[in-house]
């Protein structure tokens, strides 16, 4: 089976003197597979997904999206990407944003008329008439997911998709992922919410300081009797310097 995404020996740094933000990361993603990319803040997860989405250029290594360079617009035809903290042209309305993106996806007018109202209804934004600049973070996040699924992608990249969502929104996203998996869509999920990743992902990779610490199926990474959180904390703590203690003014209860 052809991999939807293949990443081999990927390295990336933003400036020459900077340390590698991503260092020799390799993995592959097949249709219908849900892959979780985990890691603490600054681990390089968003950099990896942005390279796959053609937004950043890789420093070294090889990244293939549907067998092509992600920088090639045609390779992104079947990609849906919901970025972390999404934003949109702020003077447009939700309907206009989706129509804009549907046009970029090359959908014809009939298809746009069919898909846009349904997608907005799924995102709970069908009755929203305000411009994006008046949207809350949660509303933008829902619109971010809506625009990502609009083109019926074969690969859906979700970068912290539920960070600003309420519990109902999170449940909807989980249901969406399950449904898409069944229909053969590959999911690349980048999240801090380990319980969520444990629920929906078949395979995970744990990153810290740009390197993959552990990768495999959920059963390989999480031994029986332990949780993903246990494994994650143990691995990350062993590979990153210990964090500072709590501030003394919090711990010293006796002093005023």
């Amino acid at each position: 089976m052809t991999a939807v995404v293949s990443v081999e020996g990927l390295r990336k740094r933003y400036r020459r003197r900077d340390p590698w933000a991503v260092d020799r990361v390799s993995f592959a993603l097949e249709p219908g597979q849900a892959f979780g990319l985990l890691g603490p803040n600054g681990a390089g997860k968003s950099t990896v997904v942005k390279i796959i989405a053609g937004l950043l250029r890789p420093g070294e290594g090889r990244v293939q999206l549907f067998g092509s360079d992600p920088g090639n617009p045609a390779a992104r035809k079947d990609l849906g990407f919901a970025p972390e903290d999404p934003d949109f042209p702020k003077f447009l309305r939700a309907t206009e944003v989706l129509d804009y993106f549907a046009s970029l996806l090359g959908l014809d007018e009939d298809e746009r008329k069919r898909r846009i109202p349904e997608t907005l209804a799924f995102a709970g934004l069908d009755k929203e008439r305000r411009q994006i600049r008046q949207f809350s973070k949660g509303m933008k996040q829902r619109l971010g997911i809506a625009q990502a699924i609009l083109g019926r992608p074969k690969l859906l990249i979700l970068d912290e998709p539920t960070a600003d969502l309420d519990p109902l929104g999170r449940r909807d996203v989980r249901a969406l992922i399950d449904q898409l998996k069944v229909s053969g869509v590959a999911i690349l999920l980048n999240s801090h919410l380990l319980s969520e990743v444990e629920l929906v992902c078949d395979t995970v990779a744990i990153l810290a300081k740009g390197r993959v610490l552990k990768e495999g199926t959920m059963a390989e990474v999480v031994p029986e009797g332990r949780t993903l959180e246990d494994v994650f904390v143990e691995l990350v703590q062993a590979n990153t310097p210990p964090r500072d203690q709590l501030p003394s003014f919090i711990t010293d209860q006796d002093k005023p």
Binding site: K50, A53, G54, L55, L56, R57, P73, A74, A75, R76, K77, L79, F81, P83, D85, P86, D87, F88, P89, K90, F91, L92, E96, Y100, F101, S103, L104, L105, G106, Q131, G144, Q147, G151
Partner: protein, 305 residues
């Protein structure tokens, strides 16, 4: 091509909702109206008082009316040029920068649209928006001319408007390119300074060509080199026509001036005013526009979001 149209279409919708452009447009429209009606009121009041020429004769009211017409057209050209530049800065500072800085570009660039199509769409929208805004102001100016007449300069005013838009376009492209690399306010300041320096070089060059700066060969070579390193503002011969018309008008009023008084000749007056741009200047403008548009594309292409 679909991508380019989509980017252009929704950028135009965005621009139409930007308050800063609306504010500039309203100020421009009010400013032009004030100039028109103000001059009309002023000319009406002026023509009712008795004034006299140097030899005690009252000027011909028709010539006085023409003086006002010319003054009006002259002011219009300056006001339109100023607002074209303001609008160019406002559009150039926002049209790509806000997509990049807000993060909207992340969602846009993950779609199957090339950076070239995105840049083309943005350029098309920016140019259309500027032509539309300055065009409406020009139409308003033209309507106000019904109060005065055009002083015989109707065509020249249109050509001058096109030239002003063309000049503003080069600045807008420069601001767009710079704001892809840096903060948009810094980009506007850099473009403003560059524009001022370019204007100064062009002015010095025209003075050199008119023979006002002497015959220093080093200065000549230096200014000629500098002249071909900066954009040349396109011009109609409206300013020259206005100067000549005013010269004719006032020389006829001054016909009774004492003999022996040395008035400058028409040629001397015209020599110091830049004339209509030639084919070389137009080709240079096309080259500069292509260069700056290429810079915008290069900046967008290199930009990682």
């Amino acid at each position: 091509m679909n991508g380019t149209f989509a980017v252009a279409r929704y950028t135009l919708i965005e621009l139409s909702r930007r308050r800063i452009l609306l504010v500039f447009f309203i100020i421009g429209a009010i400013g032009i109206a004030l100039i028109g009606f103000g001059l009309k009121v002023f000319s009406g009041a002026f023509s009712s008082v008795v004034i006299s020429g140097p030899n005690g004769t009252a000027p011909d009211p028709a010539k006085l009316q023409r003086a006002f017409e010319l003054g009006f057209v002259n002011n219009l050209i300056d006001v339109l040029g100023f607002f074209a530049l303001l609008i160019a800065f406002a559009i150039g500072m926002t049209v790509i920068y806000h997509d990049l800085e807000s993060g909207a570009a992340v969602a846009i660039f993950s779609k199957p649209v090339s950076r070239a199509a995105f840049t083309l769409g943005k350029l098309a929208a920016a140019i259309v928006a500027m032509i539309a805004i300055v065009g409406v102001l020009s139409i308003e100016a033209r309507l106000l001319m019904l109060l005065f007449g055009t002083g015989g300069l109707g065509v020249a005013l249109w050509v001058e408007t096109v030239a002003q838009v063309a000049n503003a376009l080069t600045i807008m492209l420069l601001v767009m390119a710079l704001s892809t690399w840096m903060n948009n306010i810094v980009a506007a300041i850099v473009a403003f300074v560059y524009n001022a320096m370019a204007g100064f070089v062009v002015l010095l060059h025209s003075q050199l060509a008119a023979g006002y700066l002497g015959d220093n060969q080093v200065l000549k070579i230096g200014l000629n080199i500098a002249y071909w390193l900066v954009p040349h503002p396109l011009m109609s011969d409206a300013k020259r026509q206005i100067a000549l018309a005013q010269y004719d008008l006032f020389s006829s009023i001054n016909q009774g001036a004492p003999p022996g008084s040395k008035a400058p000749t028409a040629d001397q007056i015209v020599a110091g005013i830049p004339g209509a741009s030639g084919a070389g200047d137009i080709i240079w403008w096309v080259f500069v526009v292509c260069l700056f548009a290429g810079l915008v594309y290069y900046a967008v292409r290199r930009r990682q979001v």
